[in-house]
């Protein structure tokens, strides 16, 4: 498959059980290659206000996250990657990973792995893999070059590169130059996300050599404004942009 990837993010349970399931199915039908599912964290350290709002909303009613993940698994057939913060799970990591594996989740991505746990990241990556899960590694422009190169080879599925320090806040960042810089360091597939704010950013990322883009905040904003159907149709638009790139 030579086509570049669309990785779509959904907050587990947002905006409600029914619409969430409609959303994940719709995102896949619209051409998402992989779904990232955000599991309610205690502290969404690197998430911007929009994704935080979605977590807050979900926290008010969602009790059975695992049940809903099982339903998600049944609803779609693309790889599912859980996005959550390692900080919340350090003392119960094995249970978390076992549960994911049992639920049919494919992989896990901890955005804080290389930042707050950089001295022990290899141990955690091994533990993820030992549970039969894919370890998708999150990097960002402040990760030193040699480390990006090293983890790009360890990362399963693709290397995630977050171009902005937080999701969903369009800080002025030269998207193309930060990607050009890492492209030469990464032999693996490179998926760019975190704060891709508009179509222009996405095109820049793809032209600068990204193998895929990860979208999240924009869907949630669209759901807030116009509902789930409208978010799904955005995914279709993004798929078109990727195919055209």
């Amino acid at each position: 498959m030579n086509l570049k990837m669309l990785v779509s993010y959904a907050t587990l349970g947002y905006p409600n059980r029914e619409d969430y399931l409609k959303l994940v199915k719709g995102l896949v039908d619209a051409g998402s290659d992989i779904l990232e599912i955000g599991l309610l964290p205690k502290y969404a350290k690197y998430d911007g206000p929009v994704i935080r709002r979605s977590y807050k909303q979900v926290s008010s009613w969602l009790k059975d996250s695992w049940g809903l993940l099982e339903e998600t698994r049944r609803a779609v057939n693309v790889p599912l990657v859980i996005l959550t913060y390692l900080e919340d799970w350090v003392s119960s990591l094995s249970e978390l990973l076992t549960k994911m594996r049992e639920t049919g989740i494919d992989g896990v991505l901890f955005p804080d792995l290389l930042i707050d746990f950089v001295d022990e990241y290899e141990k955690y990556v091994q533990e993820i893999k030992a549970h039969g899960l894919k370890a998708v590694i999150f990097t960002s422009p402040s990760v030193p070059d040699p480390l990006i190169h090293k983890v790009s080879m360890l990362s399963d599925m693709f290397l995630y590169y977050g171009v902005r320090p937080t999701t969903g806040v369009p800080l002025p960042v030269s998207v193309d130059s930060v990607i050009t810089r890492v492209r030469t360091l990464v032999d693996n597939k490179l998926v760019v996300g975190f704060g891709l704010s508009d179509i222009n950013d996405m095109k820049k990322a793809l032209n600068a050599g990204a193998d895929g883009i990860a979208i999240g905040t924009i869907y949630i904003e669209e759901i807030e404004k116009n509902g789930v159907e409208s978010a799904i149709s955005l995914a279709r638009t993004f798929r078109g942009i990727i195919n055209g790139a």
Binding site: Y43, P141, T166
Partner: protein, 422 residues
Amino acid sequence: MVNNEEIVPSYWYNIIPDLPKPLPPPRDPPDAEFSRIDLLRKIMPSEVLRQQFTVERFVSIPKEVREAYINIGRPTPLIRAKKLEEFLNTPAKIYFKYEGATPTGSHKINTALPQAYFSMKEGIDHLVTETGAGQWGTSVALSARMYGLNSTIFMVKVSYEQKPQRRTIMQLYGANVFASPTPHTEYGKKVLNDNPNHPGSLGIAMSEAIEYALSNGYKYLVGSVLDVVVLHQSVIGLETMRQLQEIDEEPDTLVGCVGGGSNFGGFSFPFIGSKKGTKYIAVGSYEVPKFSQGAYNYDFPDSAGLLPLIKMITLGRDYVPPPIYSGGLRYHGAAPSLSMLIKEKIVDWREYNEKEIFEAAQVFLQTQGIVPAPESSHAIRAVIDEALEAKRKNEKKVIVFNLSGHGLLDLPNYESMMKRIG
């Protein structure tokens, strides 16, 4: 000998890609009622913000800014402190980079100029900031004027009253200078309401400045701590490196004082990044003991908590520093990049008390003639100790330090120190 102007670099150096570990990104606090990261977009000029998050190792200095650097007298001189060496009777050679040679008397202008330039390019016509002792406010006032912009400076009320000369310079440069707390912001009004005689604080002045910028559509300039400021200050270290090359000198030890970390970082990071030198010493104040007692944590850079959390060595944003004379060192944290380098033991630190730095200042001004800013005297004290150690060990070291500013407007402080400890 090269043409002096060629010493001024055409790019700034950014240490972020050369740090040993990923630099922890800024964060919004848990359960934030608004996004401080998002707020930055409204507060700061957008090119300044882009540079704050850049990972390019070299960021080009716009031609106009480089010309402005030359116009204010850059490169600043690198001077051998021969008389100090003789006085200490040390085999070490001592050099200092003299940032007091700028019109505003300190390194602060090195970042005020580009920030004002980028603001002007973005069509902003009014800059706002806070100032404690006045060094930073003076630099913003002059830089704004040079690009035809207005400026408003919220000066901590006690300093406003005790340092009338600083206030006068800012006014001569054309700035509006307010004694903070003021009735011009909601925050100031609240403070005055609780205590009409409030002496002010840097935190209050900063909150006022940010609020004033936001409500009027002006931009706020940051004077230290953030990566972009350290980036701009790298002009100091890059020039020094070039000046040392010209005289075939290899530095061993590099020393600077630390308030928020901008002059130290700007001076030493180019050397650290190119692995020149073997020892880097960051010098803080014993009375504001962030290195010895601070924690390496996420904390607010401003006491009002309007800016995002950054991971740094910090005494806590609510820490109230004692009223020492080195106003520029009365800050609770240190720049994230510097904090990491200290944690990783790449940069050493020292802390000296007021008596120790007063003695050092006296030795320096009596041998070299320059009255150092009390902040810079901290660096001088560490240099003296290093030079004396070199004497004991009979080592021919090359010690280079940054003299971040002169102290000609701090004479009342020295006078008072002379009475108490001199």
